[in-house]
């Protein structure tokens, strides 16, 4: 008997002994959140929850204003280089003076470690929890390593990507490619269960939030 056959046989016997009738799963929880996707209210709530977990939020009304905000953020951080995923909209970084390192061909881990920052978009953001999600298959977000190794992440979140709740976000996501849910900069609660920001992931997180103010 292979391990596979044996484990499955054990589990079938156990399942039958303990009960094999699937229950009806009660789904009384809310599948839509308090605010409409993309609304001024949902964007304002996202601003609050992101800030609560120590991301720095920069509000701009229009996509034309993104590049100035990104430029200012990188300059303030003293970043002289940044990595860009292959499909990062050029208009988001038009005003940036730091030198771009395109991830095309892919940069090595050692190269990524020498880059000061990374600029990406986001697939969706969740206002209830202060989360944005990176989809590695999306051209403006790129493979996972580029938003992990550099110590400073600048993420551009457009209002049309902002939803209230976790269920609304998951419904918009395709799990086929790798996804990374990010809620604030890297942190730990491992010392006396107090939250401390800044461990292995990017220690600095700026979010440029584009939408109604």
């Amino acid at each position: 008997m292979t391990a596979r056959d044996e484990v499955l046989a054990r589990l079938r016997a156990a399942r039958d002994a303990g009960g094999a009738t699937p229950p009806d799963v009660p789904r009384g929880y809310r599948r839509t959140g308090a605010f409409a996707p993309g609304s001024a209210e949902v964007v304002a709530r996202l601003d609050e929850t992101l800030t609560d977990y120590r991301a720095t939020v920069h509000r701009v009304a229009d996509e034309d204003d993104v590049s100035e905000a990104v430029a200012r953020v990188l300059e303030e951080a003293g970043a002289t280089t940044f990595v860009a995923p292959p499909g990062l909209p050029a208009r988001w970084v038009a005003a940036v003076t730091a030198r771009v390192r395109p991830d095309e061909p892919p940069l090595s881990v050692a190269e990524l470690d020498r880059v000061d920052a990374v600029v990406t978009g986001a697939a969706v953001a969740i206002a209830d929890t202060g989360t944005f999600v990176l989809d590695a298959l999306a051209p403006d977000q790129g493979r996972r390593a580029i938003s992990l190794v550099p110590d400073h992440h600048v993420c551009v979140v457009r209002a049309d990507a902002v939803v209230s709740s976790v269920p609304e976000a998951l419904a918009r996501l395709d799990p086929d490619g790798p996804l990374t849910f990010v809620s604030g900069p890297s942190a730990t609660s491992d010392i006396e269960l107090d939250r401390v920001e800044g461990v292995h992931g990017p220690r600095r997180l700026d979010v440029v939030l584009v939408g109604p103010m």
């Binding site: 044996e6 809310r30 419904a171 006396e192 269960l193 292995h200």
Partner: protein
Amino acid sequence: MTTDLGNGRMTTDLGMPTVASDPHHHLRGTEPFPVAAHRALADTQLRQNLGHATRTIRAKRAGVVGEVDDWEELRRAGEGVKADVMARLPELLEQLEASVTARGGVVHWARDAEEANRIVVDLVRETGSDEVVKVKSMATQETGLNEALGAAGIAALETDLAELIVQLSDDTPSHFLVPAIHRNRSEIRDIFLREMPDVDPALTDEPRRLAMAARTHLRRKFLSATVGISGVNFAVADTGTISVVESEGNGRMCLTLPDTLITVMGVEKIVPTWSDLEVFLQLLPRSSTGERMNPYTSTWSGVTPGDGPQAFHLVLMDNGRSNVLASPDGRQALHCIRCSACLNVCPVYERTGGHAYGSIYPGPIGAVLSPQLTGIDGPDDVNASLPYASSLCGACFDACPVRIDIPHLLVQQRAAAVEAHGRPTAQDVAMRAAATAMASPRRFSLAERALRLGRLLGRSGRIRSVPGPGASAWFGARDMPAPPTETFREWWARRDRT
């Protein structure tokens, strides 16, 4: 069939529910809970550390749970999804296997801890690497994977901060979420100063500085690692998606940068569909770290060309879970999502800490999971003492995000512990003696008078032990007031005369 050999040990027949193997004694300690708890209670530093940490986390959890107006509905959904998983577990696992395989992953099956360890060791050897980076995982703690890798000449580097603290101090974990919860900041600084070769000797005990020291210590290892090892929070059957929930980014490092990723999961960590995560990604972070969402959650499905490890292995492990699944009520213990909320609210855990439970699964859930995974070998099995590590106050049920009825399971496991009494213990002998004494008025009166001798033993007004069969077992966890100079019946008789 499994066959009871009469001493509580089972022989295993092929294909029937089977208890866990425990090659490195991570599911069963060496002494009964009361003995270990006595020692823990005497450690005032430990009680201070635990009291501080659990108070902090209880307040944080209460705050973020209070924000969610459909929390009870989410709990009921979490309970329902897990019950559904148990009823369809074999079919869901086959579906998961097919989904992962279709996306370029390789699925392995392990009957027990030894087999899981052997599979992982062989996979690491095939890569030619003698070092692996690890994301904190209860499943690989359970199997003793680090010991097995070490025996094969492979260094396993724990990368979660608390797990690193435990590994550096050659300690054992005492909490699911924060394995070093029993250490305070100054103890952690001392460990780092002693065990980290390149650490700044001016390191202070400021948590931020300690976290930075860990970052520096591990960074080079992350950037050069070729093999990563992880556990699983949730595995989605229909999409083959694996998720790991973490805070520090060490998980992302281990899951993203190596060429090979090996993931070990207990078979119960499965959910049927992608949308089921909408329930658990709300329940877990708020119950666990008391955050609206943990900093990082990674999900991946098989292998993605051009991104992350190009070789992905998933090890599906039974190790006693079939034994738990066979119990209609007991299988609820497999619903656990390892949030540790029940530990943080438990008045027993808060005072004794996790080590007293012996198993790497401590606290209320551990007290019902560990004895079911290992089975109870007989009256002297230390895991038979775990279900008594509770006042049955019910706080664990209220805190559990998937509504596991832990108090009910504790009572049920107490019954199982009693059933394991195939032969009389010292306490049984004492109880039988008491029954004999109480059976007739004459014998009871003799026994009462004998008790008066107890006054000689109880100088402090309490009796802490008496000689005689079974007495030491009885007094192991109790003392009693010294008896009065006169029994009630003597007083009654005297009163009648006057």
